[in-house]
């Protein structure tokens, strides 16, 4: 994680130092006509004004998104029946996760195939909300099928079955996947 942060840090520094190189400007590029000098300045000022308005609309749209997502949750996934399933990779696990399939009470509810970017995000500590839906209160059967490849190149296929209990409040179920160790699929409930 630290290495990743350092890599990002190095990236911005690279760009910083690119900028700090007055001597690097080729002589032939320095011949910008003088009469054009004011035009970019005006453009830059207009650009800054526009940029601020773009920031404002982004802020507004984010606020709409938040309200809309609350409305959506209330309408489609009321707390009394809401269940959310999350997928995370065990810390430092090198497994290449290809797919996850979930069945609740024998019904297929989610089947996700991971892109390289999604896998990378999971490896760096991100958590995917793979499913959100509704179930009645009481006990439910969850079947998790995981497909992937181990670091050695060997196939990794596991199926685990769990029981989870839905209470009146929203149910959060976390699945932590690991290619190594004794618990390839660990269930955490909130």
């Amino acid at each position: 994680m630290k290495a990743q942060a350092r890599f990002k840090s190095v990236l911005w520094m690279l760009l910083v130092v690119f900028a700090l190189s007055p001597a690097a400007v080729p002589a032939q590029q320095a011949n910008v006509p003088a009469q054009q000098a004011n035009v970019p300045t005006q453009q830059a000022n207009a650009s800054r004004g526009l940029d601020e308005q773009v920031q404002e609309i982004k802020s507004d749209v984010l606020s709409i998104a938040a309200e809309l997502s609350q409305l959506e949750e209330k309408l489609l996934y009321p707390s009394g029946t809401q269940v959310s399933m999350f997928v995370a990779l065990a810390k430092g696990d090198p497994m290449r996760l290809d797919s996850v399939r979930l069945q609740i009470d024998g019904q297929l509810v989610a089947h996700h195939i991971y892109s390289a970017k999604e896998l990378e995000a999971l490896r760096k500590g991100g958590v995917q909300r793979i499913y959100v839906g509704n179930v009645t209160t009481g006990d439910h059967q969850l079947e998790v099928v995981v497909g992937g490849k181990l670091e050695s190149g060997a196939d990794f296929n596991r199926t685990e079955r769990f029981t989870f209990r839905k209470e009146v409040k929203p149910k959060l179920v976390g699945l932590t996947l690991a290619g190594s160790g004794n618990t390839p699929i660990a269930l955490g409930e909130w």
Binding site: W12, V17, L50, V54, K58, V61, L62, A121
Partner: protein, 625 residues
């Protein structure tokens, strides 16, 4: 200076990527926000995290919430996400909030550092220095080098290179950062007027081992800058050696090849200058360095007195410049016709978060001929990023309008389903509810009475129905006997008293057993009452959910629809203005480029004529043949 800061700002934007929370993740939704951010989907990340933080702040006991474990990370992450989503104003506010909150020293220092980076990015250099000055005491280990590096950059940007030198000399960074520190130190020395030290430092930076692509790129940059300085000083041999160290396939290879050629040409080594220039002349013809090499090659041939070849290569250059002018014209026409913006917002471009790179894969068309060249301009990039962000917002808003229509449908259908059902359900429920309440009250009453009988025994309350009936009959007999003194009455009265005594004896002696049994019987009801209560609660919740599923949304949906509609209009208006600005910037840049191409075309045209003229006057040598 402004351009410099803008470029630095670009670097900062790219650098402030999401940093996942340290340690084990306790809050799934925070993890979900990171998941989006780590894929470059900052809007989704912000939407998730804003919602989480709002809910956290609304709690009576936030310390019991899972986000509490990550709240500092979450506050930082919001700032980072906002910065990555180019919302500098909000990013600054978010980080200031952390800085001014009751947090420990390390967290406050990290916040100050992040705030300094934002100020630096916005060109507010004094504020950046002020924020850096707030860093005191414990600085988190992972940002120590970054803090000093930023401090040095601010000093350089504010024209204080000697202070930057002092800071950079103290930075003891690991292998990954060493190249950057070394290079910036060279630049600071150069700006401080310590030319020889700068040359030595850049020479060192240009030979450092590098663990990754970024390190290799900065090493190339060091060598290129060093080559340029040495070239200006007339030290062509060392300049050539320096640019020769630049990799042939790197970001700076074209510039390095061009400069290597000039180093040789300046030393009158035209045959050696032709080697890098000929390599360059076969590269992408829209590149400035390549176009310059197209004139430099015949220039070398002419200096080698190979006028025939000079004439031919000038001819090739002339053809290239003419073609490029046509391409620039076509690009400008295409931009004016609005095709440029359409090309940029193609879906395939947006699939990849690294869209600048994916632009390279756009089909070759007039609107995209000079795209990568235009992308080199920071103003253009910023404007384009804003335009693409607006386009993304627009797509979301349009999708939300559809969602709102769908919500209306859902609500209508639910209403159609529930409205006829609920009155009967409610009537049945009221009846059952009344009966249930009566029974529960009776139970509670009995419970209270039994409880009272523990301290104030009332055996008659525990008599059976038969016993109660017998007692009533005895009482009736006693009443009928009245006060008669007849022997028969006396005998009967005695018998009645005996019977009453027998019953009283039984009630008194069996009182404890009967009380226990009554209590046990009442207790046996508890599971049934609990089940009944659960069922009752379930029904009430379901009944409420039925109402909540379609009642009370009209105002909210109408308001949201209005806000979405209003936002669409504003986005459209901003897109039109931003698009116009992009097109203007592009056309201006292309016009400048065209002007330059026309000059080069004239030079090539003159070169062709001059070379043919000289070739005609010079006897053909063996090399020429």
């Amino acid at each position: 200076m402004r351009a410099l800061r803008q470029l630095i700002a670009l670097g900062l934007v790219l650098g402030l990527a999401a940093t996942p929370a340290a340690g084990d993740l306790k809050d799934f939704y925070f993890g979900e926000a990171l998941y989006h951010a780590l894929q470059g989907r900052y809007f989704d990340a912000l939407q998730r995290l804003d919602t989480e933080r709002a809910m956290y702040r609304g709690l009576d006991q936030p310390q019991l919430d899972t986000l509490h474990y990550h709240i500092n990370d979450a506050e930082f992450s919001v700032g980072d996400f906002e910065l990555n989503y180019r919302m500098h104003h909000r990013a600054g506010r978010a980080i200031k909030a952390v800085l001014e909150g009751a947090v420990d020293e390390a967290v406050r220092n990290e916040a100050a550092f992040r705030l300094a980076r934002i100020h630096f990015q916005k060109g507010q250099l004094d504020d950046a220095l002020h924020a850096l000055a707030r860093i005191q005491g414990t600085v988190p280990e992972q940002i120590k080098d970054d803090v000093e590096f930023l401090r040095a950059n601010v000093y350089i940007a504010t024209g204080r290179p000697s202070e930057a030198v002092k800071v950079l000399e103290q930075v003891r960074s690991d292998e990954g950062l060493a190249g950057f520190v070394a290079y910036n130190l060279g630049i600071a020395l150069l700006q401080d007027g310590r030319q020889q030290e700068a040359i030595a430092q850049l020479d060192k930076a240009g030979q450092l081992p590098s663990p990754d692509k970024a390190g290799l790129a900065i090493r190339d940059k060091s060598n290129l800058v060093l080559g340029a300085i040495l070239f200006e000083l007339g030290n062509f041999e060392r300049a050539r050696q320096s640019v020769d160290r630049v990799r042939l396939e790197g970001l700076y290879s074209n510039q390095a090849l061009l400069r290597a050629g000039w180093a040789e040409a300046s030393a009158k080594q035209f045959d050696r200058a032709l080697v890098p220039w000929n390599i360059l002349a076969n590269r992408e013809p829209t590149d400035v360095a390549v176009q310059e090499a197209m004139l430099a090659v015949p220039h070398s041939y002419a200096n080698l007195k190979l006028y025939g070849r000079a004439a031919i290569t000038y001819g090739l250059a002339l053809e290239l410049f003419s073609n490029q002018i046509e391409r620039v014209d076509a690009s400008m026409r295409s931009i004016k016709e609005g095709r440029f913006l359409k090309a940029l917002i193609r879906e395939e471009t947006r699939q990849d978060a690294d869209w600048v790179i994916s632009l390279r894969t756009l089909p070759d068309a007039p609107e995209t001929y000079y795209l990568m060249e235009l992308m080199a301009s920071h103003d253009f990039q910023t404007a384009l990023q804003n335009y693409l962000d607006l386009e993304e917002l627009r797509s979301k808003l349009i999708a939300w309008q559809t969602s709102l229509d769908a919500f209306d449908d859902i609500i209508r259908l639910r209403g159609q389903n529930y409205d006829p059902l609920l009155p009967d359900v409610d009537a049945q429920f009221r009846d059952l509810d009344a009966r249930m309440r009566l029974r529960l009250e009776q139970r509670n009453h009995l419970g209270k009475r039994l409880q009272a009988m523990l301290t104030a025994p009332r055996p008659e309350y525990l008599a059976t129905a038969e016993e109660r009936s017998a007692l009533e009959r005895i009482a009736l007999i006693e009443k009928q006997l009245g006060d008669s003194d007849s022997p028969a009455s006396l005998a009967l009265r005695q018998r009645a008293a005996r019977l009453r005594g027998t019953l009283t004896w039984r009630l008194e002696t069996e009182y404890q057993e009967r009380l226990t049994a009554a209590y046990e019987h009442l207790k046996e009801l508890t599971p049934n009452v609990d089940a009944l209560t659960r069922q009752y609660d379930d029904f009430v919740r379901t009944r409420q959910a039925a109402t909540h599923s379609y009642v009370g949304y009209d105002v909210q949906i109408a308001r949201l629809r209005m806000r979405v509609g209003d936002a669409v209009q504003r986005v459209d208006s901003l897109m039109a203005r931003q698009g116009h600005m992009i097109e203007t910037v592009a056309i201006n840049q292309l016009a400048a480029r065209r002007e330059r191409l026309v000059v080069q075309q004239n030079q090539a045209r003159f070169g062709v004529a001059d070379s043919y003229d000289r070739a005609a006057r010079t006897p053909t040598g063996p090399e020429e043949r």
